[in-house]
Amino acid sequence: MRNSVLGAAALAMMSMLAGCDMIGGASEEASGDGTDTVALAEFPERPLWGDTHLHTDNSIDAFGFGVRLGPDDALRFASGEEVTSTTGVTAKLDRPLDFLVIADHSDALGSTRRLYDAPRVMIQDETLLRWYDMMHESPEQSQLAIAELITAAADGSLPKSLTDPERQKEATTTIWNDHLDTLDDFNQPGKFTAIAGFEYTLMPGGDNLHRVVMFRDGSDRTKKVLPYPALSTEVTGLWDYMDAYEKATGGKALAIPHNSNISNGLMFELTGPDGGPMTAEYARRRARHEPVVEVTQIKGDSEAHPFLSPNDEFAGFGDAGWELGNLDMSGAKKSEMFAGEYIREALKRGLSIEQQIGVNPYHFGMIGSTDSHTALATADEDNFFGKHTGNEPRAERGNEAQNLGTRVGRFGWNYLASGYAAVWARANTRAEIFDAMARREVYATTGSRMTLRLFAGFDFADNAFDGDWVRDGYANGVPMGGSLVGEGKAPRFVVSALKDPEGANLDRVQIVKGWVDASGNTQERVYDIAWSDMEGRKTAGGKLPAVGDTVDRAKATYENSIGAAELNTVWTDPDYLPGQNAFYYVRVLEIPTPRWTLFDAVRFGTKLNAESAANSVSQERAYSSPVWLNAAKKGA
């Protein structure tokens, strides 16, 4: 009897649903890749700002860390609306972002949420049971549970039920498809772009080899696949997955490595992943699938390290704490590991490998992103919501140990309010943003929004800036991310850095050059090419005097009374040798400004400890994607 009543009700409902055409919530324009939805500019007019690396409550660790904000909150926040953070603070960006990639961990997508909600009697696994109890005990215990979880994922001792892909699949499918619908709902071509992605969390022994995977496409294509899990896979498996996706759907995907600084030397190896010589096939696949890396984010900055670049006085930015070991601190750092961890060295290694096997595996551009686990993409020093919900704004977060659960090493102030991705796209759509990333016409900032243009060529005039220099740059040169073929003469660079209209003035613009010398060794040099007050600041002993410091430590304020609104120059490499293979990228430094720790100290009336206070002022920066100079091929 009961069943027949239910059956009738169900039947009635089914027929009601079947009577209408099933359609999604979003329009055709919003659910595609954005092609033909908005007019394309002749060339990119302004950088689009975004975060390609944001976690929400669908991420196994973010949920455990406490976040209860989902993708829709994340998208609302990124597009400029006000939301209430998990800890109850209202949060709003000073300026909206132009795009957002939500990159929740693919492993057990959403499963921490299910664990949290599960009845206790269902949990038979002892480890899960302990985590479950910790999560319900207190927020602090919840974070400790997640720290254990990260360690377990790293050493391969995760409970079977969390790693079994088939058991997770049904839940993952629902969450993924719901998520893709949400993205389409918020995607507004020309105004705000919501991009599908996930994080591939490869982490052998705690060495961070994570990649964010982002898709070019709308849900018509992305619904045909599921995020690729990382546990017990290799990165070549990820590339197989991406190839299969592209082949099956006609769509496109790219992968963005991040936090090479805590990979203990594994992210940019000279060898192949098996320890043998790198094959040309591996190098080619890597360069094709991974055209950009995330150079700066909350967990430190991976551009350069003083150990590798002793002559670069600015190389140590964002290294403190992260240089001690790998992600979970299960492996301590040895100095020989640094070379496989920092981007500048990787670019040099790329040239060196190319010389040996003919292909450059590390032919990548640079972006910044947050890796925030709060669903809030914050990279502004005065509006920073922290790595995860446990360090959303509160009095002591800068002074405390923040070791992701371990008892050694890292403190709150080691975390950076960084960074964003700047994309030179011709329109704000999924396809245009993706394509700009694929051609590396992108740059990284540590959170501030300076405008950086770079063109390289051989024939730029000294007065290039007098005319329509952007059009001329595209016509007679290559933009950042591009390559020049050697013509036997020194390359010239048209470089313009314009300050963030709401931010600090600029201190200096530098070009970082890397090359392989005649004896096959890699070399680097940092050139100051333009700086503020060039009359007053004369280079002495090869060193440019510091720009000064206007930061009021007691009030967390600064003055734009030093520095410049724009720095630009046409620069020629003075040390060029014919036949040289080299890369050149631009680094822009702002004048010193207060870090988030100093804003916290003033806001909450707390006293920073000595180490934190010594690191409470920094020079925000931008890194362009490199331009490569390839010597003309012999006989070509």
């Binding site: 009961r2 069943n3 088939e166 499918t173 709902d185 314009l498």
Partner: protein
Amino acid sequence: MKIPGWTREPLVHFLIGGLLLFAFFAWRGEDVDPASRSIDISREQQARIALQFEQTMQRSPTDGELDVLVDQYIREEVLYREALRLGLNNDDAVVRKRMAQKMDYLAASRAETQQPSDTTLQAWLEKHPVRFAPDSQLSFDQLWFAERPAADAAKARLDAEGRWQDLGERISLPPSLDDASSSDVTARFGSEFVTNLEGAAKDEWEGPVRSGFGFHLIRLRDATSGPVPPLAEIRGQVENNWRAATMAKRRDEAFRILRDSYDVTLEK
């Protein structure tokens, strides 16, 4: 308040009754007959399992892989049924939340799948014009100066001579923009500049005004908030907005109907 017509329809009452029963039995865990210990896996079900594999790997599973998948499916089904027999779904936060979500979904599903008529959407557009109004479009000229005295001097020259093109200092900002959206102008020039620009008189050189870059002389040539586009141009956007609002309304209405039949007492 006027009760919407659809709440008086017998079909709706029937459905809500059915839903209640459905939810109740789902809650009590008795919708699967505990006595049933036979599991039939049809060819169709096997095909579905194979399809899901294909979705991730973009290739069909081998026979061995499919066997493993089917075994896993059986395992899950057995455990699921036994869990229901034991009533493990009772007071389970995730089941509870999921069931509530499904009720919401059912209440809103008609709105989700309904194809609204042009008349409905036109009315919606006319009721909420602000939501669909485009960003204001700004056309202007500007000259930039690092320091205020230079800007003052240039303003004096401009007023006297009327020529402006070569008076400013060089900066990588466009001297003129036509029909640029205010959000784009804000991204390039900053909010202070746009506030000044939007407050400026038309076709007059004004300033110096401040921006994050320094000082500007500005001439606003045109500022249009733009008419709300006709429905045909923004049908998708209007439909989205209408659908989201209608779904939320349906959910609330359905809940209110259900809620009214409950007595809730809060112990003080």
